[in-house]
Symmetry: C2
Subunit: 141 residues, 2 copies
DNA sequence: GTACTAAATAGGAATCGCTACAAAATGGGA
DNA sequence: TCCCATTTTGTAGCGATTCCTATTTAGTAC
């Protein structure tokens, strides 16, 4: 827990129990959770945990580039602690988001372009392995 | 207008005035509009134009892969008629979305992978040229 | 330890993009 | 023309996010 406190201090962010909990949750859950998933999980242990605090904290962590916000879903934002460059795959059937370990080769070029690039997102969408197999089984009957 | 009708017929979609209007609007406005922008523009000429029709039609066009849905914004979906592979840049200041004419080099590889890829999205986010210059001018005062 | 103060949190209301639903309109075929 | 399936419309509803304000917390000075 001390490492999260250090991280926050390093960025000049005041350390609070709620912020530590959110950081810990993101670090231990690499499934790109929604704000609501974070909220409801933390609320279980601390019933007074507030939804607003989750949104405020995520906003602040994002501003300090400590977390990444994914707009891969059409209906809600997904968050992740890991902020090194990688792509994502969204299964349209089960909703699972997987990491794809490649880096955009245009990133460097874009840095030299007329645009001031701050974020790079690579999203693939389709059907995941598990769901594809399930579909095959169904069609065989 | 006849070309839109042909396009719809080719895909087995029944031709209606509303669908033609939406296709025409998307073809003539390459600024990746929101559903609401489409709706309010078409409503000006035809006051009974319905929001639901816009969403239904966009959903149908998307299902037939006639249009692309962009999840680049954090708050709303953007639509475009052009469905050939290209990337996008979102300016966080003015909200403008620009086309970046590159193709994801991982697309082919992903097609051979365990995933069944149906969509590829490449998003860059930051500050556009115009907004960067405006910022410079401000700081010079 | 107490008092003061600014920042953070909690809880609820409000907003907004999108969807669901049912009634009315449309339009092609008998 | 009449029928019936499809489409459109208008409204209500939903869910993710934001806004607002009272309360709590935590740091500082006395
Ligand atoms: Mn990831
Ligand atoms: Mn485009
Ligand atoms: Zn799946
Ligand atoms: Zn801009």
């Amino acid at each position: 827990m001390e490492k999260y406190a250090k991280l926050l201090k390093k960025h000049g962010i005041k350390v609070t129990p709620q912020r530590l909990e959110i950081l810990k949750y993101l670090n231990e859950n690499h499934n790109h959770p929604t704000a609501f998933q974070i909220f409801s999980n933390l609320k279980e242990r601390n019933p007074s945990f507030s939804k607003t605090t989750v949104y405020n904290t995520l906003e602040m962590l994002k501003a300090h580039k400590l977390i990444q916000v994914l707009t891969i879903s059409e209906s809600e934002l997904r968050y992740e602690f890991d902020n090194k460059l990688h792509h994502h795959f969204l299964c349209k059937k089960c909703g699972k988001i997987s990491d794809i370990d490649v880096q955009c080769p245009f990133f460097e070029k874009m840095l030299d372009s007329e645009y001031k690039v701050e974020e790079v997102h690579g999203y693939f969408k389709g059907i995941c392995t598990r769901c594809s197999k399930e579909e095959e089984l169904k069609s065989e009957t």
